[in-house]
């Protein structure tokens, strides 16, 4: 069992081990939806919510179903199915009970069913042998970190819209470059906490 405190895990997964900037997971929706600040915020919150939910759910399934039976190798495929079902369910749920929240967040949910950051977090939680509380904390922290990265990049891209970018760099190319620079900047936090 890993002994790190939950608070440390949360802070570490936001800054030093940001799932997007250090593992480069979830790049697809990161690049596609970071053109507008409001979209980025909505997507960021949706990812945080789904990450927190699915790590908890996958923890239970892994330790109380797969492990006792001895079929841990099924975890990949089962995690993906659980994530997809969870996203679908949450989408239907908030669509029914809070149309307002649905219009703010729900529309982003289908976009993140296949976001690899979400599967990534579930797999890390197994490898790092987190407890349940630690797993949920890690899921939450990774989500917040991902949201922060996409919001930052959306702000930068908005600003970039007004600058004169050489043609070969326009679009995804320059976004990849600034993502790289941002990742290097975040490495400055590395000594702060370790997980």
């Amino acid at each position: 069992m890993n002994e790190t405190s939950v608070l440390i895990i949360i802070i570490a997964s936001i800054f030093t081990a940001n799932i997007l900037l250090s593992n480069f997971l979830g790049m697809c929706s990161f690049l596609a939806c970071s053109r507008q600040l409001s979209t980025a915020i909505g997507l960021g919150i949706a990812v945080t919510f789904v990450l927190t939910g699915t790590t908890g759910l996958n923890y239970i399934i892994y330790y109380y179903l797969l492990k006792p039976i001895g079929v841990e190798f099924l975890s990949y495929i089962i995690f993906i199915a659980v994530i997809a079902a969870f996203v679908q369910f949450v989408e239907m749920f908030i669509e029914k009970f809070s149309p307002k929240l649905y219009y703010a967040l729900g529309i982003f949910l289908p976009l993140i069913t296949v976001n690899c950051a979400i599967l990534g977090a579930s797999l890390f939680m197994i490898i790092r042998k987190y407890s349940f509380i630690q797993s949920v904390g890690y899921g939450f922290g990774a989500g917040v970190g991902w949201a922060m990265a996409i919001i930052l990049i959306a702000g930068l891209r908005k600003k970039m819209g007004y600058s004169n970018i050489p043609q070969p760099f326009q679009g995804v190319a320059i976004t990849m470059i600034i993502t790289g620079i941002m990742a290097m900047a975040f490495m400055g936090f590395a000594g702060m906490v370790t997980m």
Partner: protein
């Protein structure tokens, strides 16, 4: 043993998840059948709730243009939603101007049908279909013009009016694009579509069409356009084309003489040199069969020495001015560059044709 266990665990988990979703769907997203009212009662659809507007319309064979397939990344599928449909979503705002948002324009792929909805879509889209076809023949008309005939595959028939156009899908470095071409085959030929295309250096559509060979597949949508031929045979038809503006005229003329063999029709066609002249022989043969059909071709460049050109010279509005007597009930269809349209319109109005009876392609 462990294999059987693994497979049963997998199936069990999937079954539970599917079960949860089915139950959830039954209780959470059941909108029943919703009504879509198009263009104030012109068409009323009854569709299952919960799907997107784009899918519902395509299911009813109303083809809203869409290049991305409903992912909200092309911004082509704009429709006007008059009531219902919820607020404008953040996924749409990048593609809408403020003016559009105020007047209710939405992206059809982002509007979810949860209630009865009233929408407005351009009239012409109600009849538009997506056709797949193969090239049946290509004929070189002049040094830069080609006549290209498509044989329709799916659907097998097209119902088009003279003056309407089709949008042909052509490949480009940024993905497929659509380019508009007037349909030149007469409207009674329902299994084929013919286009007349001038090659434009660097033009995506014309280069693609000129390089097609017999048997090549093509995809196009249509028919578009609102021109309606006057059905009263006593009304004379005046067609004026310039440069490459021949395709709609050919359609109009053949359709007219199929339906009213004695109707009076004038064709004025202006181009620069004898090298640019095409279809003249064909139209003269038609004029022999139908004495009320008058063909006038005009060349605008000065004739070289020793040329045996027997048509008109000078710009085509001058020829129109020369031949048409004033005060006859007429409908006119023009096709050509805006300065030509302007000059011809002036002549036609002097001859007493009402501006509302003069039609031309908007550029």
């Amino acid at each position: 043993m462990s294999f059987i266990l693994a497979i049963s665990v997998l199936c069990g988990v999937f079954a539970v998840l599917a079960g949860v979703l089915i139950v959830a769907e039954k209780f959470l997203v059941n909108y029943g059948v919703c009504k879509i009212d198009i263009n104030a009662g012109e068409r009323e659809l009854e569709v299952d709730g919960g799907q997107t507007m784009l899918n519902a319309l395509i299911g009813e064979e109303i083809f809203i243009p869409s290049a991305c397939g409903g992912r909200g990344s092309c911004g082509y599928c704009k429709i006007t939603v008059l009531s219902g449909g919820g607020p404008v979503l953040p996924t749409e705002t990048p593609y809408l101007t403020r003016k559009e948002m105020r007047s209710g324009v939405r992206l059809a792929c982002q509007v979810k049908i949860r209630e009865d909805i009233t929408i407005k879509i351009p009239e012409e889209l109600l009849n538009v279909k997506l056709f797949s076809a193969t090239v049946k023949s290509t004929i070189t008309l002049t040094h830069d013009m080609k006549e290209i005939l498509f044989e329709l595959g799916e659907p097998t028939e097209i119902s088009q009016q003279p003056g309407q156009y089709a949008q042909v899908q052509a490949p480009s470095p940024e993905g497929p694009v659509f380019r508009a071409y007037s349909i030149s085959s007469p409207s009674y030929e329902t299994n084929t579509v013919e286009l007349i295309v001038r090659i434009v250096p660097g033009g995506i559509g014309s280069t693609y069409l000129h390089n097609l060979g017999v048997g090549d597949p093509v995809i196009f949508t249509g028919p578009y356009g609102e021109f309606r031929l006057n059905e009263d045979p006593a009304t004379e038809i005046v067609c004026v084309g310039g440069g490459s503006g021949m395709a709609p005229m050919k359609n109009i003329i053949y359709t007219i003489y199929d339906r009213w063999p004695d109707r009076t029709c004038w064709l004025f066609f202006g181009c620069r040199t004898t090298d640019d002249v095409f279809y003249l022989e064909e139209f003269r043969r038609l004029a022999e069969k139908h004495p009320n059909f008058h063909v006038i071709y005009g060349l605008s460049d000065p004739l070289p020495e020793g040329n045996d050109w027997d048509g008109e010279t000078g710009f085509i509005h001058i020829s129109a001015d020369k031949y048409l007597e004033p005060g006859i009930n007429r409908q006119a269809f023009l096709c050509g560059p805006p300065p030509m349209i302007e000059a011809v319109t002036r002549v036609l109005e002097e001859k007493g044709i009402k501006p509302s009876d003069i039609f031309y392609d908007k550029f």
